[in-house]
Symmetry: C2
Subunit: 111 residues, 2 copies
DNA sequence: CAGTTGTGCAACTCTGGAGTTGCACAACAG
DNA sequence: CTGTTGTGCAACTCCAGAGTTGCACAACTG
């Protein structure tokens, strides 16, 4: 699994405004930067920049229709990151269990 | 599920140095800031700050032993965030499917 | 055609966070 | 007790990124 994908998604999700943006997008399915900016306490330009970040992370898709650009949510990258995270948590558990086993064995030997 | 927990975890994981730190910790199971700083291109103080962030996010646990502080990985918060993310991805899929259904119905009516 | 509206581009400000250094203090070893 | 070593605290520097404004340009509407 591409580590850079995970990297991009994590960096993108770190910002509250971008998470809110994704929330709005998933509600409406389709929206332009101008429309999205109305429901947010920031300017349209700020929204455009955030959408660019989300686009680079693969969390959002853009389509030009006439003079406007419609954005929509893409779940693939998020899903991949969720799987990566779950695998990481499992890996930690595995390592912790192994270390605990070794520690117990060492203690048993010392007695 | 606490949204602030997810928030903290995402913010914590956004930094590459912190992810590397977590990786090192899960390998050794136990480590002090001084020890960890050796394998990283940053000072001990920088490591201490990162560990403080990870601690606040619940990703790391600290224990005082004599004059040194030992850190260890905690998988609970990461696991919770992974579940949250998977649920979010599923939610997006659900909404997208619903919107697609509506769009197709509208198209069928217009014909 | 003229007027309106949505985007894109560029140049700025400004704050948060990553990193550093220096020093004081507590906990060891001899 | 004396010297050494690991942490903690505080005051800095520095820069990426979040946000802004202003303007030019393309795309619709009448």
């Amino acid at each position: 699994m591409g580590a850079d994908v995970v990297d991009g998604v994590l960096a993108a999700l770190a910002d509250p405004t971008r998470r809110h943006l994704l929330d709005l997008l998933s509600e409406h399915g389709q929206a332009t930067a101008t429309t999205l900016a109305v429901g947010l306490p920031v300017s349209r330009q700020a929204v455009v920049k955030h959408l660019a970040v989300l686009d680079a992370a693969g969390l959002v898709d853009s389509t030009k229709v006439g003079r406007e650009v419609r954005y929509s949510v893409r779940s693939a990258a998020l899903d991949a990151t969720a799987r990566w995270m779950a695998a990481l948590a499992a890996e930690w558990d595995r390592r912790l269990a192994r270390i605990k086993r070794i520690a117990e064995a060492a203690e048993r030997d010392s007695r």
